[in-house]
Amino acid sequence: MTRIELTVNGEQRSAEVEPRLLLVHYLRETCGLRAANVGCDTTSCGACTVLLNDVSVKSCTVLAVQAAGMSVTTAEGLAPDGELHPVAAAFRQNHGLQCGFCTPGMVMAAVSLLAENPHPTEEEVREGLEGNFCRCTGYHNIVASVLDAADVLDPGGTRAAGVSA
């Protein structure tokens, strides 16, 4: 067992963990944060996406011990007071979710994408979400949600291919 200390959604946490414990299982079972889901075995689907030190990672392919000393943000952490985060709000506004299983991971991937590229083109959004699978929406409304969120987050910005923050 290994002792880890880390920050989860702004809260300092400490735990004794088996080295092989995956971050996603630490979040779900130890912290009770079950928004991130496991959708595959092969780092393909992105349903488990969370932010690790503010960038998107697949928490099924990060050991909890690797996150020691770092800061983790899950979908729950985007809405500390129950208010929808602007990206989440855009998903609702644009019907960017159906069954909801991919949604927390998709939203976290979108948050990370917009932090790196605040005004992506449609093509950049699609490429930026290539690591997140959705079976319900055909991606149409997810892409619309992310483009909409970009406008909401930074209304004055302009969209230009290849330009990033």
């Binding site: 088996e18 092989r20 414990l21 779900r28 079950r34 928004a35 991130a36 889901n37 959708g39 595959c40 075995d41 092969t42 393909s44 689907c45 349903a47 979908a75 729950e76 985007l78 809405a79 129950g82 929808l84 985060h85 989440a88 709000a89 998903f91 609702r92 506004q93 019907h95 979710l97 159906q98 069954c99 909801g100 299983f101 991919c102 949604t103 927390p104 939203v107 449609e122 959004v125 699609r126 490429e127 979400l129 290539e130 690591g131 997140n132 699978f133 959705c134 079976r135 319900c136 929406t137 055909g138 991606y139 149409h140 409304n141 997810i142 892409v143 619309a144």
Partner: protein, 767 residues
């Protein structure tokens, strides 16, 4: 103004976007405290006899509570094939295989552990001695193929007609006859949430099972049957469900085994399968071979069509084995073809059982006839749009009975085609295609069409009226609760059903709660599948709301000491008022406070409805590498009146992407030994956002008269219309180079091979 027809945002979303849905694995419940974890040991061989199973090493592994094999469950009855009237009754299975395994992934044993991580370690220690047998794969099985079920004496699970029933003169008088054998390949439903279960028994011997499903009542019935229980002993609860696509109807053997383990050990048990398990042991979809023959005149009049189907049912016949029944019913699709016939045969193979997958039988029919139309058009050198227009049934106002027993309720297929062509800019596309062909562009343009009609909201049989129940209750605090027999898993019923009740009762959507999927709360229901929910479940909600208003009117009259006839219902206040005296009024909430205000009703429809439309796919093919790229999808999907465009469009989008994916990438592949080669998301080509464009939806609404809402089903339009459109587009892109057909999935390699073969035939180097 009515809320119906407007883009009401989903009331279910905030939860999904903050704490996430509560799927079966997420369920926290006192009844599940101290649950053990069940892991399945699955067959690594496609076909083998089991000589022995040794679990002793497993039992001493850390955390292992127990391990069981088929012998431990032998007292449970063998499971008959689904629809045993149509299917060879000897093709039975066991919850855990006993003598033989018949597909890679078949559950053979279970190991039960304290912690989930221990289970993955422990299942590696179960030793099973197999005696391998030859696999049985493909559609046209050789006469000497080994039998999956010796007692059955055949690998044919069932037949609908046979070769001897075909009419030898069907194509007499046709100037042109084209025939081809094509494959509608096996695909994986692959919902994002895999299968799961949680089971707990109460002291009175009653089972509570949490299972992701598409209809708790049907799941309860199957689970009870698998366990040899009376339905009254089983309660099924439906947590949030992360997608289903037809593959979560009913109960699977694994669900029953989890319940059995919980009873045997006297403690609750849980199971969540891995994606690997999901891709090899959740039912697959499609899996048909079609021999299509089409004949007609040189000017484009189709006179005769024949469809011969072989269904690969997989190892144990489930719903997939009888889906050819629906395929046959839709043989001629939206076309008026004077002579047509269809036969089908289902065979068992040493592969994962085939079940329902979004469209279930109808996409196969559409793919066959739409490919046939294009083959015919190519043969006579006439534009495929023109051939379609010439042969589509004219608009009809009275239901149209087809030769295959389907009764099309309402339709205007030509209008749908024309609208789609116009939205696509068809003439301009053909011009661009001609330019690219003339300039021998490396990237050639393909335009593919698919006109379809499909069945939604079918009852148990073609003549049995489909029904659904709903209850609506108004509470003293002014809120309302709806109970429904449908089972949403992404479709947005909580919002849509609330809209329907709100429109009648004047209660805001946010104050209306929908409940579903708990068999103790809602003992009856047909669930969600076959695109039935709105037209029956939604109609039931509207009917219940109206009936509730009648009950309320009676009570309001008494309360206000007025004549019922003098009362008007004021939706803005959710209150009855005396006409001309708005001060004399009583809100529904007050009536509910005085006496419980609740109505349950059953809506019954005269029959299934038949939505229709046309999809246009625009594809670019790199003729050097063979790679197809989907550039545009333009669709008309006429499912009658639209209740909430936001939700209806979402259903179309998702279906289009899934349908397109079948056309150009998705396929479950087995090697010659019957080993699955697509058992992970690294290998099974689940599409990402980069492989599809945004979709262009054109609107058309032809109401049905089969329900007061005028609605038909929209859930499966995408996978029915898009697949043939994309396939036809890929072929169209290279048709001028001599290619007539490419089987799905039209992968880069297949397109390249087709180009090479066409070039070899024409003696040209021009690939």
């Amino acid at each position: 103004m009515s809320i119906l027809g407007t883009r009401v945002l989903r009331t279910e979303d905030p939860r999904f976007l903050t704490t996430g849905g509560v799927y079966t694995e997420d369920v926290v419940d006192d009844r599940l405290a101290g649950a053990c974890h069940v892991f399945f040991v699955r067959s690594p061989l496609a076909h083998a006899r089991i000589n022995g199973i040794d679990v002793s090493a497993t039992l001493s592994a850390p955390g292992v509570i127990a391990a069981y094999s088929g012998a431990d469950l032998a007292d449970l009855p063998a499971i008959p094939p689904m629809m045993s009237g149509l299917i060879n009754a000897e093709m039975t299975r066991r919850l855990l295989a006993i003598d033989k395994v018949r597909y890679v992934g078949e559950p053979v044993a279970v190991v039960v552990t304290e912690h989930p991580y221990q289970g993955e370690d422990a299942i590696e220690l179960v030793a099973i001695d197999y005696d391998p047998m030859p696999p049985v794969l493909g559609f046209e099985l050789p006469a000497d193929a080994p039998l999956l079920f010796e007692a059955a004496g055949t690998n044919v699970a069932g037949e609908l007609g046979n070769e001897s029933s075909l009419q030898p003169d069907l194509f007499d008088g046709c100037e042109v006859v084209v025939s081809r054998t094509i494959v509608n390949q096996r695909v994986a439903p692959a919902p994002m949430e895999t299968r799961a279960a949680a089971a707990a028994w109460s002291t009175d011997g009653r089972l509570t099972a949490w299972i992701p499903n598409q209809g708790a009542q049907g799941t309860r019935a199957e689970l009870a049957e698998l366990l040899g229980l009376d339905q009254s002993q089983v309660r099924v609860i439906t947590p949030d469900v992360g997608g289903a696509f037809g593959a979560k109807f009913g109960a699977d053997p694994e669900h029953a085994v989890v319940a059995w383990v919980a009873r045997r050990l006297g403690r609750p048990a849980r199971w969540t399968e891995t994606r690997y398990e999901n891709l090899i042991s959740m039912t697959h979809g499609r899996g048909q071979q079609h021999t299509i023959t089409i004949g007609g005149s040189r000017d484009g009049d189709v006179r005769a069509y024949r469809l011969q189907i072989i269904q690969d049912a997989g190892s144990y016949p489930r719903i997939g084995a009888i889906l050819p029944y629906l395929t046959i019913m839709m043989t001629t699709g939206p076309y008026d073809i004077p002579r047509a016939e269809a036969i089908a045969k289902s065979v068992v193979t040493t592969t994962t059982p085939v079940g329902a997958y979004r469209g279930a039988g109808r996409p196969e029919a559409t793919a066959a006839i739409e490919r046939a139309m294009d083959l015919f058009a190519a043969e006579i050198g006439v534009d495929p749009a023109q051939v379609r227009r010439k042969n589509l049934l004219p608009a009809f106002a009275q239901p149209h009975r087809t030769a295959f027993g389907a009764l099309y309720d309402t339709g205007d297929y030509v209008a749908g085609l024309d609208k789609a062509l116009e939205a696509a800019g068809y003439a301009q596309l053909r011009k661009e295609q001609a330019d690219r062909r003339a300039s021998r562009d490396v990237r050639q343009l393909g335009i593919g069409l698919s006109s379809y009609v499909e069945i939604t909201g079918m009852g148990d049989g073609p003549e049995s009226p489909p029904t659904e129940n709903a209850s609506v209750e108004v509470h003293p605090d002014g809120t309302a609760t709806i109970l429904t027999g449908t089972s949403p898993h992404g479709q947005g019923h909580a919002t849509a059903w609330a809209m329907l009740a709100s429109d009648e009762l004047g209660i805001p959507v946010e104050k209306i709660t929908l409940k579903w999927g708990d068999t103790d709360l809602i003992p009856e229901g047909g669930g969600t599948g076959g695109s039935r929910s709105l037209q029956q479940g939604g109609a039931a909600v509207q009917q219940a709301s109206r009936e509730l208003l009648e009950v309320a009117r009676e009570r309001a009259a008494a309360s206000l000491e007025a004549n019922q006839a003098d009362l008007v219902f004021d939706r803005t206040r959710s209150a009855f008022a005396v006409a001309g005296d708005p001060e004399a009024s009583v809100p529904l909430s007050d009536l509910a406070a005085a006496e419980r205000l609740v109505v349950r009703t059953v809506f019954s429809a005269p029959g299934a409805t038949f939505p229709f439309g046309t999809h246009v796919a625009v594809v670019e093919v790199d003729t050097e590498t063979g790679k197809p790229t989907l550039l545009r999808m333009i669709t008309v999907d006429d499912a009658g009146v639209v209740l909430n465009p936001l939700l209806a469009e979402g259903q179309r989008h998702g279906g289009i992407a899934q349908g397109a994916a079948q056309a150009f990438v998705e396929e479950v592949v087995y090697d010659a030994d019957g080993n699955p080669l697509t058992a992970s998301f690294a290998d099974y080509p689940f599409l990402s956002a980069t492989e599809v464009p945004s979709f262009e939806l054109a609107e058309m609404q032809t109401p049905t008269t089969y329900n007061p809402l005028g609605v038909k089903g929209i859930g499966e339009a995408g996978t029915i219309g898009a697949t043939p459109a994309v396939q036809n587009a890929v072929i169209d892109a290279v048709a001028h180079l001599g290619v007539r057909h490419i089987d799905m999935p039209a992968t880069s390699r297949r397109v390249w091979q087709a180009l090479r073969e066409a070039a070899a035939l024409s003696g040209s180097e021009d690939t």
